[in-house]
Symmetry: C2
Subunit: 355 residues, 2 copies
């Protein structure tokens, strides 16, 4: 018996979860209900530990008295270059933002690239340059990386996975489970810009002014929110894949509360409103890459809103809803006419490869 054989071997045959799916579909990666199925049926049983089960956007841990936050994301956006950014800028900002919404100060980033054979080196140079610029803009260092190459037809130019490490200040506690009835729900600006920018390129939709992705680093805005709101800020999330709807559903479930969104208060660019009508999409389901949703104690609403609006990335900030004790784990939308409808979760296949 060799040394290797003496070690624990992986389980030879884990049962397939009996949930009616036996093949991966695009929706399993889209951040909606199917993604949640995969997490519950495959990943949590394999890796379950209290940190992972908390389902925050970042994990935090203590090392020698310091508290650090860690987050990771794979990016497979198509196309690689789009109005307002590219896959590299998206990856750096996405990772910075996952740290920021947990109240952590982003410090360093790592990047691992899966390149497709035949990729023009010029494209890679452009993406790396864009990542370098995004790191400089966010004030983080890219300190470790890796590159693999796969055969032509086994990738799509570039996939990149970024991981971020940040510092969590003493006493900081933000959690998707922290929303309380009476809290107000704020958003830092217009919703749906990223998703519609990507779709407009894919579908060849022309706007008079090209719609740009909102990809941006939010850590300065979130720091301003925390400085203004302090402990009255109960939760923050960046509503990426699955849009604001996914974020609000996760919040409602994790906190055991209901959320009511005031449809007329949701900030939308006219191009996004128009494109959503054209494509049959609800802007609340469309991805954002430079917006934060904050849930704050009612008394701190004005202070936090003012702090958001003082940041160039938050000038369109608005209060879009409230947390209620009624209908726990359910999100509703109040329309202009005063009616209230359920905001559904989408299974997720609607907008594949949006990030």
């Amino acid at each position: 018996m060799s040394g290797t054989e003496a070690r624990v071997e992986p389980a030879a045959a884990c049962p397939v979860p009996a949930r009616g799916y036996d093949r991966i579909v695009l929706g399993h990666g889209a951040g909606g209900g199917l993604s949640a199925d995969l997490l519950r049926d495959v990943f949590l049983p394999a890796f379950g530990n209290p940190t992972l089960r908390a389902l925050e956007d970042q994990a935090s841990l203590a090392i020698d008295g310091a508290r650090i936050a860690v987050t990771t994301d794979a990016f497979v956006v198509k196309p690689l270059f789009f109005p307002g950014g590219d896959i590299g800028r998206l990856a750096v900002n996405g990772t910075v933002n996952d740290l920021a919404v947990g109240g952590a100060e982003p410090l360093v980033i790592t990047a691992a690239f899966v390149l497709e054979e035949g990729l023009p080196v010029a494209d890679l140079v452009r993406i790396a340059g864009s990542m370098g610029a995004a790191c400089a803009e966010a004030g983080v260092d890219l300190v470790a990386g890796d590159t693999k190459v796969v055969d032509r037809g086994r990738g799509d130019g570039v996939y990149v996975t970024t991981t971020g490490v940040g510092r969590v200040p003493v006493g900081r506690r933000l959690s998707i489970a922290g929303a309380c009835p009476g809290d107000r729900v704020l958003v830092s600006g217009t919703l749906g810009d990223h998703g519609i920018a990507i779709l407009s390129v894919r579908e060849g939709i022309d706007f008079e002014t090209p719609l740009r992705s909102d990809t941006a680093p939010l850590h300065r805005l979130t720091a301003a929110v925390l400085a203004a709101g302090g402990d009255a800020v109960h939760a923050m999330r960046d509503p990426t894949r699955g849009g604001a709807a996914s974020t609000l559903h996760e919040l409602a479930e994790a906190s055991g509360v209901g959320v009511v969104v005031d449809e007329t208060a949701v900030p939308l660019r006219s191009e996004v409103r128009g494109a959503c009508e054209l494509l049959g999409l609800d802007p609340l389901h469309v991805a954002n890459e430079g917006k934060v949703i904050a849930v704050v104690d009612r008394a701190a609403t004005d202070a936090v809103l003012a702090a958001m609006r003082a940041d160039p990335l938050g000038r369109d900030a608005a209060v879009i809803g409230e947390v209620v004790a009624d209908h726990p784990a359910v999100v509703t939308v109040r329309s202009a006419l005063g009616g209230e409808r359920l905001l559904p979760t989408i299974p997720g296949e609607q907008l594949p490869r949006i990030c």
Copy 2:
């Protein structure tokens, strides 16, 4: 002008490096000379900072008095399942090992999956289970993850990127630049097992006893090496892609020394020796996933060798060479007949997708 537009934009047109390549080839991911070209021509100019430029297998940074190490790797091995392991076990162990060779204690891991539409869920369950078992074996928690799905024909089942965070004990200093003339070069066991195990599956080579990948977590072995050798341990590396040859070349270049390998002292399984002869490969160029190369002060050689051999993963450990002041940055091999030849670097296209 929107808030997003007010921010720094990525450089619109970075020049392509004028090094005679304009398309990515498989060799750019194989850990040899082409990988080094890409790092030098594309990534270091984009991300250059002192930590990244050190080119260690892990980056270390100080946070609130603690010192942590961070490392990341993408895994695209083909096939996903092979004798002795699978892509999931390989990823966890590879990340644990990149921390271990820097003297860090592995604490947590993150994992990001890029799944291909159509992947059997049973395969993902098996891989996740294997990763969970590998985490348990290594004593690390998987604390954060992400899953994306790409269209059929744009992936190859599963790609996974793992990132590890570890704790670096006070005063620990190991560096690829730390080798000194007179040092001995030790290896913890037989070389080439992983690469030949993968190739034998791909090429349909039958061995009497199936050759298994050596994938294993090395942090206990490296801790024993450090306990036995202390500051006399100058450098450690796990010789993965590109094999021992790549590691020794990196060491020779970074430390400004020469390395002489005694060919007769290199531990090899007879199956690996035979397969290398059959396939025209030098075992020093073949990948390992559960071996460490340690460079130690001559006086500590016996103590470190004994510590390696006392670990089940190090029972075939051997002294395979020495560090010399002659021929800086050059690695030579002394043959059984006493002749000395240059150990070449390979450009890298020899063994694509080995990890």
